[in-house]
């Protein structure tokens, strides 16, 4: 299966990069990290017997770069929308991010809503119900994780890989290939017709 692009979205300081790094640090003997950059990660995840390679893109969370984020959404198969459970605003802002994402990609995308910093239970401001309601509303799955302790991180990515795999299988369209073949065939036809014309002309002469 080809590499599947996943984008990490969310307000600044919610812990996108921390989740990213935690996923990188958790060792799986079966899973192989092929490429790594501080903001880009390629990792193979095994789902049952099949393997899927996720190429995960970390995105800028600062408000001043908001306008640049749509550039990162292109061709993505999944998005992990991260909010901070100690910050209600971070969950509220997710709706804007979602709208922006769907403007760019459409509805064909796997969505995960992830509440980070689950280890700070005492400081929790966002209720699980609110988050789950939002998830249901947009057809996403909700997870509470802690990048600090590593809680639920692997489970979340495993579930994501599973859903991406399913999504890709369901939306597999051979349109591109047929189109291109058609195009190539057209060119070939043109060549042949040109040849025939030439031959005819030669015959006349």
């Amino acid at each position: 299966m080809k590499k599947q692009k996943v984008v990490l979205l969310g307000k600044g300081r919610v812990g996108k990069t921390s989740i990213f790094k935690r996923f990188l640090q958790n060792e799986f003997h079966d899973n192989e990290v092929t490429t790594i950059q501080p903001q880009y990660l390629e990792k193979q995840v095994k789902v049952n017997t099949e393997k899927v390679t996720l190429s995960i893109w970390d995105t800028a969370g600062q408000e001043r770069f908001r306008g640049l984020n749509p550039l990162f959404y292109r061709n993505s198969k999944a998005a992990i929308m991260v909010y901070d459970i100690t910050d209600q605003e971070s969950l509220d802002s997710l709706e804007d991010w979602l709208a922006e994402l769907k403007n760019q990609v459409g509805h064909k995308i796997v969505l995960m809503i992830v509440g980070n910093k689950s280890d700070l239970k005492k400081k929790r401001q966002v209720s699980i119900e609110d988050a789950e309601n939002l998830a249901k509303k947009v057809g996403a799955q909700h997870f509470c994780v802690s990048a600090k302790t590593g809680e639920n991180i692997d489970e979340m990515f495993h579930e994501l890989a599973k859903r991406v795999m399913k999504f890709v299988k369901e939306n597999k369209t051979p349109l591109n290939t047929t189109k291109s073949r058609r195009n190539f065939a057209l060119v070939n036809e043109d060549v042949e017709t040109k040849k025939k014309k030439k031959k005819n002309n030669d015959g006349c002469c």
Binding site: K2, K3, K5, G12, K16, T17, L24, Q25, E27, E32, V33, T34, T35, I36, Q37, P38, Q39, Y40, E42, S55, W57, D58, T59, A60, G61, Q62, R64, F65, G67, L68, L71, F72, R74, N75, N176, T177, K179, S180, R181, N183, F184, A185, V187, N188, D190, V191, K194
Partner: protein
């Protein structure tokens, strides 16, 4: 010559799977750099280090590793193509975990054994090893080594060194052995008698061919009695010593010749002196004779009666004549002796050559002396006779081989593929009237072409000799080669039409960008908004320089590669300069790219980005390369929209 060697991660992971404890990795930075300065070859791939710890640790060595090596390489006139094209240049080299120098080499018809400085020993089957040496070492110099495994490159370079260190007289011996060795490898020649092979097996240790003359004096009994790695050490030969000994022998021969010459000249001088003395004596005698004759004439009248005296005088004259004749004879004899001596000296100098000639019955000696390339080739063939059997394709490098096959498949006359390319290029003026039409048409055509080539001819193209390649890796390798070749075939003829058209469409954005640049003028890293812990002491010079090469390349895949490499350079610079890598998040990354982009001052940046975006492969755009491209696009957007400027003003 020293080689940098580091082992592939595969060995380590295998060990781990087998339950053995993984050895600690990493070197002290100081010792690392100290050793690095005297190393000629650097080989590295980050993908051989799969676990996170290694990557984090070793990427921190980063770029500085390469500079001293490149200087070394230039000194030794080693091709730098490998280092320009390889990931190594951009910091991935830093990922190696151990390295050693080659210390000793032992050569046998069947085995090549290399001992490293850390006393580890690697054994190779001669035929196979030399195949690798021949193919891979040249591949490294000629073609992009992105798909070479570390182990193979290392082997290749070691063996290349080995081949170059073999003296010619030994090569001639090998040449005689050639036919014999053809029947030695049972794997390759199944029809060979098994008894013969068994005999050879028994002779294994006694048949070692030593590169050093001193080693030939080692008792054979001693060799037979000793077994295991200890006996190996005795048989090992120092390549350096061998070279030194060779030089010493040459010097000795030269000295001998010089001595003989000196002796000859001395003798000549002596004989000349003697002759001069004799001549002087003769002259004196003649004068005396004249005087006596005059005296005689004067005294004739007075002494006519003394006939006896006259007779005596005559006798004296006769005696003198006889003496002269004798002297002449002696001189002749001396001359003959001298001639003989000179002849002997000449024969001595020619003796070595004659000995070599005696060893070799072939009449190819003139070729040996005349053509150095021929000698080199013969060296390789001498070491690896199986090379003679190989076809043309097997002699060339893997990727060149694929390229050759690809070209033979594509560029044949009356071939549909080449005709369609020709048709596309010749009718491009119709297809590419505007960017909106041109881009999708080119891309679709590229895609279709790739599909047909890979679909029909993949099996023909998959002729890689690299054993490390898995199916996926091989497919990727071939696919990338095909993509590049299609790029070359399609883009080269239409680039001059296409790119100016894109520049025209991007004029407004380019103007905006220029305006932005003028407004920003000289921008410090602080002003860009970078946190203090991320400020580069070098001012990201390396990344800037590398990005400046973007406009020099016309192929979109190559441009994409340059952008990706720039991104990697940025990451490595942060690590190298000891800055806080935890701050290197997506936000700050865009800012760094903005800074690099600003100072690289690329011409027609927006047009170039549009060109790459529209003509690059979609698969690549979803990969790491795509990520960096998106980041640079975001940074360029900051220019155009001038968002950063307004933000910095607000901050101020």
């Amino acid at each position: 010559m020293e080689l940098l060697v580091y082992r592939s991660q595969k060995e380590k992971t295998n060990k781990k799977k087998n339950g053995t404890i993984e050895k600690p990795i990493g070197l002290c930075v100081d010792s690392f750099f100290a050793k690095l300065r005297r190393i000629n070859f650097v080989v590295g791939k980050s993908h051989s280090f799969s676990t996170k710890k290694r990557i984090l640790r070793f990427n921190s060595f980063g770029l500085l590793n390469i500079r001293p090596n490149i200087q070394n390489i230039k000194k030794h006139n080693i091709s730098t193509k490998f280092f320009d094209q390889d990931d190594a240049l951009f910091g991935q080299i830093s990922s190696f975990h151990s390295y050693v120098s080659v210390e000793q080499v032992l050569v046998n018809e069947n085995m090549i054994i290399i001992k490293y400085e850390d006393k580890k020993i690697h054994k190779y089957e001669t035929n196979h090893a030399l195949l690798i040496a021949h193919e891979l070492s040249s591949r490294c110099e000629i073609w992009n080594t992105r798909y070479l495994s570390v182990e193979e490159f290392t082997k290749a370079n070691i063996l290349k060194l080995l081949i170059s260190s073999v003296p010619e007289n030994i090569i001639k011996k090998w040449l005689i052995v050639e036919d014999h060795t053809k029947t030695k490898n049972p794997k390759r020649q199944e029809s060979v008698n098994t008894d013969e092979w068994a005999m050879l097996d028994n002779k294994d240790e006694s048949e070692w061919v030593f590169l050093d003359n001193q080693e030939e004096n080692v008792n054979e009994n001693e060799k037979k009695n000793e077994k295991g790695p200890q006996d190996f050490e005795k048989y090992l030969i120092l390549v350096n010593n061998h070279n030194k000994n060779d030089n010493r022998n040459k010097e000795k021969n030269n000295n001998k010749n010089e001595d003989l010459k000196n002796k000859l000249t001395m003798k000549n001088e002596l004989t000349i002196q003697k002759n001069n003395e004799k001549e002087q004596e003769e002259e004196q005698e003649k004068e005396k004779e004249k005087e006596t004759q005059e005296e005689k004439q004067t005294k004739n009248k007075e002494i006519i009666d003394n006939e006896k005296e006259e007779e005596e005088e005559k006798e004296k004259e006769k005696e003198e004549e006889e003496e002269k004749e004798k002297e002449k004879e002696k001189e002749k004899e001396k001359e003959k002796e001298e001639e003989k001596e000179s002849e002997n000296t000449n024969t001595n100098t020619k003796k070595d050559l004659k000995e070599k000639e005696d060893d070799d019955d072939n009449d190819k000696d003139d070729e040996f002396e005349e053509n150095p390339n021929y000698i080199q080739n013969m060296k390789i063939i001498a070491f690896f006779p199986c090379l003679l059997k190989l076809t043309i394709f097997k002699n060339v490098l893997d990727d060149l081989r694929v390229k050759l096959i690809l070209d033979t498949l594509i560029l044949q006359k009356e071939n549909k593929i080449v005709e369609s390319i020709h048709f596309f290029v010749s009718n491009y003026y119709q297809i590419g009237k505007s960017c909106q039409k041109a881009f999708p048409n080119i891309k679709k055509f590229q895609h279709g072409l790739r599909k047909t080539i890979l679909g029909k001819h993949y099996q023909k193209l998959n002729v890689l000799s690299n054993r490390d390649y898995t199916e996926n890796k091989a497919r990727r390798f071939v696919t990338v080669l095909v993509k590049k070749r299609i790029d070359e075939l399609l883009i080269t003829p239409i680039y001059n039409q296409l790119f100016p058209m894109i520049v025209l469409t991007q004029q407004e954005e380019q103007k905006q960008m220029q305006r932005g640049k003028k407004e920003i003028r000289k921008l410090s890293q602080n002003q860009v908004g970078l946190p203090e812990k991320l400020i580069s002491k070098s001012g990201w010079k390396r990344a800037i320089k590398h990005l400046q090469t973007l406009s020099k390349n016309i192929y979109p895949t190559k441009k994409l590669e340059i952008i990706s490499e720039t991104g990697e350079i940025i990451t490595n610079t942060v690590k190298l300069e000891g800055n806080d890598t935890s701050l290197l998040n997506a936000d700050n990354y865009i800012l760094i790219f903005f800074y690099v982009l600003f100072y690289s001052n690329l011409p027609a940046l927006s047009a170039q980005l549009l060109y790459i975006e529209n003509l690059s492969d979609t698969e690549l755009m979803n990969n790491k390369q795509g990520f960096f491209f998106t980041t640079i696009s975001a940074a360029s957007k900051l220019f155009i929209e001038n968002e950063l400027l307004t933000q910095t003003e607000i901050n101020n």
